[in-house]
Amino acid sequence: MIEVRNVNKRFGKLEVLREVNATFQKGGSYAIVGPNGSGKTTLIKSILGMVLPDSGTIEVDGESVRGHWSYRERIGYMPQIGRYPDNIKIGQLLTMIRDLRGTAKATDDELVHELRLDELSDKRMHTLSGGTRQKVSAAISFLFDPAVLILDEPTAGLDPLSVEILKAKILKEKERGKVFLITSHIMSDLDELSSHILYIEEGIVRYDNMIAELKRQTGEEKLGRAIAGMMRNNFKANPS
């Protein structure tokens, strides 16, 4: 579904991605894990075409993303920090995005209702708390029923109830065969939501495998411990 091949990216002197290779397949749910500043967000933004890699290719459904934009119809993106025009109201924002997409298809408003955003539709974006913005971002990402969902720290800053609503939604859509790319520092969430893990450190992919396999290799029950164990073993378990 998504093929990342030999991608390099530097910001000035800083090498953010180094020869990154990854494949995200249909029906998979991928946890992208790594320390702060390891290049997770850059990788995601490269897939979205927001960051342009210095070399290497990224293909979505066999089509290179460089210079293209229509593939983004099939991707829903929830940014790490949802930033929106200050003076726009939630209702207006949702209307605008629907209008921009211009699709006649009915949109998936489930999250809008469940996160109770429709009750807040007259609130202006700059009056909202960080958590509420996250809810808005989440709702938008699912709105057009995309085949791929890229969620950058989806649960950070959300209240426990909303976290559960979002997780339920993710699991439900996963059942329907959608691809998920999720970054998070909350391992328990990833444990629940993901089937694969991609570990990145200093722009290099250090581990890429099924979570079940990682647990088996390290003999740990929990993802967090499993990753810690793998790091202790200095990624010896990495099959690649």
């Binding site: 342009l52 934009w69 209008d99 921009l100």
Partner: protein
């Protein structure tokens, strides 16, 4: 593109600045006309506003707006929308908003109260608005830092409205023993503000009073060809920085 332009325009209008700008221009224009019984002189005073205030407001407002709409651009970029479309939509939205403010604030009173050269002033002011919006885009895409972007824009404005003329004066001083008329033509062409100023002044029909250089410039810019030349040059002045900015924007990491 129209849809995005529309939304960007809504966004600009939600922030009241453009409205204030229009009202400010209108108050100035009306007061200049009421202070001076001679509409020709009022137009001449208005010239300073058109040559200084309009470019300054255009470039600074655009730069600030561009940085403030980074979020909006980011949001758009995650949607299936072409980068070019996003870029031109933003440019169109800002140009439309500022042009409308200018037309309402200066155009309406000037057309009502008349005066020689009013039309040329209107058109030149409009073109200058676009030139400086376009320069603001060039400054804005060159840096991620808002303060640096605004600084660069201010520098552009200073350069075109003051520093450049200072350099011209220095040049004229250094080469005062040589005939410089042809060179002045080239020098004027390289600065949109000078270009607009000369075109308006020549239409005010005082240029012939300005000796040999005035007569020379009148001979060139006073003809239909000269007007065409200067107008297309102003259009070029608004396109070149814009295309540079587009190039940068297409390669930019958001």
């Amino acid at each position: 593109m129209i849809r995005i332009t529309k939304h960007a325009l809504y966004d600009i209008l939600r922030n009241r600045f453009v409205l204030f700008y229009a009202v400010f221009l209108m108050i100035i224009t009306f007061s200049l006309f009421s202070l001076d019984s001679d509409p020709g002189k009022a137009i001449l005073s208005l010239l300073n506003i058109v040559l200084m205030v309009v470019p300054l407001v255009s470039i600074i407002f655009t730069t600030i707006y561009f940085f403030n709409s980074y979020e909006f651009i980011e949001l758009l970029l995650s949607q299936p929308i072409d980068r070019k479309v996003i870029f031109f939509s933003e440019f169109l939205a800002i140009s439309i908003a500022l042009s409308a403010a200018y037309l309402v604030g200066v155009g309406l009173p000037v057309l009502l109260l008349g005066g020689q050269g009013a039309l040329y002033m209107l058109v030149s002011g409009l073109l200058l608005t676009w030139v400086f919006v376009s320069l603001a885009f060039a400054a804005s895409v060159s840096t991620r830092d808002k303060a640096r972007g605004i600084g660069m824009s201010l520098l552009f404005w200073f350069y075109f409205s003051l520093i450049y003329d200072g350099l011209i004066l220095y040049l004229i001083y250094s080469f005062s023993d040589y005939p410089m008329e042809k060179l002045t033509l080239a020098l004027i062409s390289l600065n949109p503000v000078d270009l607009a100023r000369i075109v308006i002044l020549l239409k005010l029909d005082i240029s012939a009073l300005m000796g040999y250089t005035g007569a020379f410039l009148k001979n060139f810019f006073g003809t239909g060809l000269g007007i065409g030349y200067s107008m297309s040059l102003l259009v070029a002045w608004s396109l070149i920085p814009l295309l540079y900015a587009l190039r940068k924007f297409l390669r930019k990491d958001i």
